[in-house]
Amino acid sequence: MSEELHARLRQRGRASVDFLANFGFGMSDLRNSVEEEIQRIVPDPDALPDDLDQRDARMQQSLGASQAYRATQAVGEWMATHHGLVAKHAFEEVREEMEPILKKFEQGGSTVEANPDMEAPAYWDGVDFHRTAGGWDEHDYQGYIHADIVHTRLVAKTFPGGIFAQRRMVAALPPKDHYDKIIDMGCSTGHFTRALQETYPDAEIYGVDLSLKTIQQAQRLGNANGWSWKLYQRPGEDTGFEDETFDLATSYILLHEIPADTIKALFKEAFRVLKPGGDMIMSDVTRYADLDKLAMWRADAGAKYGGEPHWRASASLDLAQIARDAGFVDVTAKAFDPFKYPYVVQGHKPE
């Protein structure tokens, strides 16, 4: 984030956002108490039901007797429903001084092609992903609010491994030192696009995303850094680009936001738009197959209450096989320690 784009929040907004950033620490005693209870009621995770819904019912029934657990659910629900509102209110306090800066960075080499006639897919339309109040496009500066306040001031402070360091690490994984033309599928506000540009400074970068507000923020980020990104309001699974256009096709933490059939279509689209000899790298959340039954339940419950309707189906997929089915060769998949996150699939389009 360019320093000029980083809002100087007023006291109410700043303190409220800090409050959210410290939330996890504030809940630590509760969580420790619940963890002790979980260890007591689940001595052997393998004995939990195979079916995820039955497993959740078993856990809810057992943990429902714990006052500390019920409190974590109530407090967690407050966070889920309020983080977007707090961030939006914090922005509104500085809107007057920030708006000219945001408008300024909508000019420059990075461009946005809006698609007002786009038929939004049912998997996305009306869904409040991450339980963000009003979804991605409700507020005229939702992309900015998400990037500068939610991501940079909240998520980045507490996310294990660091969201920006992880993006830079993944961006450096593709096998070549140089790529002429890169497509970032589901680029959102441009955090990973930035990591790509910093890793491959001479690359021409294209980004697509369904959310106009997020790619408008990516445009500001690009322009604030003097980059010339070409951003389009289009689905990653149907980019509209000619066959064999790009040298590298990427996505970062998109796949768990789309259904299984769309994920398969996305890999096929990546294969189609890559030039022969091109590379693919897709990163997403920890695979359920890499988790024991208890950890899987934790992830699944987090998705259920965290506005993630496609997480379970997505995290259950064998992404490496999907990549092979799409035509990629030399496919590798790796879950990065210590969190088994991100999960990174790479492949190559034959010459």
Binding site: R8, R10, Q11, R12, R14, A15, D18, F19, A21, N22, F23, F25, G26, M27, S28, D29, L30, S33, Q60, G64, Q67, A68, R70, A71, T72, Q73, A74, V75, E77, A122, Y123, W124, G126, V127, D128, R131, P259, K304, Y305, G307, E308, P309, H310, A313
Partner: protein, 95 residues
Amino acid sequence: MSADPKSYNKPQRNMLLETDVNGLAQAVVTLTQEVWVLNDRQMVTEAVLAKHGIDIAEEVDTFTPDEALQSKLDERSRAIMQRVFNSLGGISSDE
């Protein structure tokens, strides 16, 4: 898709029970005390400064804490949250 993804916007969640109402009352009162202490301090601070001819309202609004102060603020906010959340969860706090 097996279910309407919009159903995830407002998921059904088992939270507090009627038996939690006493803990909830303890938490609300604890929170009210904390909020009042802060309100009192803020108003007294501004009044004392105004007595000395200093209007700090705008400077407070635009103030960015340095690292040392931010660390203190974080510590205090975590402590307040723990007191309130622990009351709700039936966990005794040291304070």
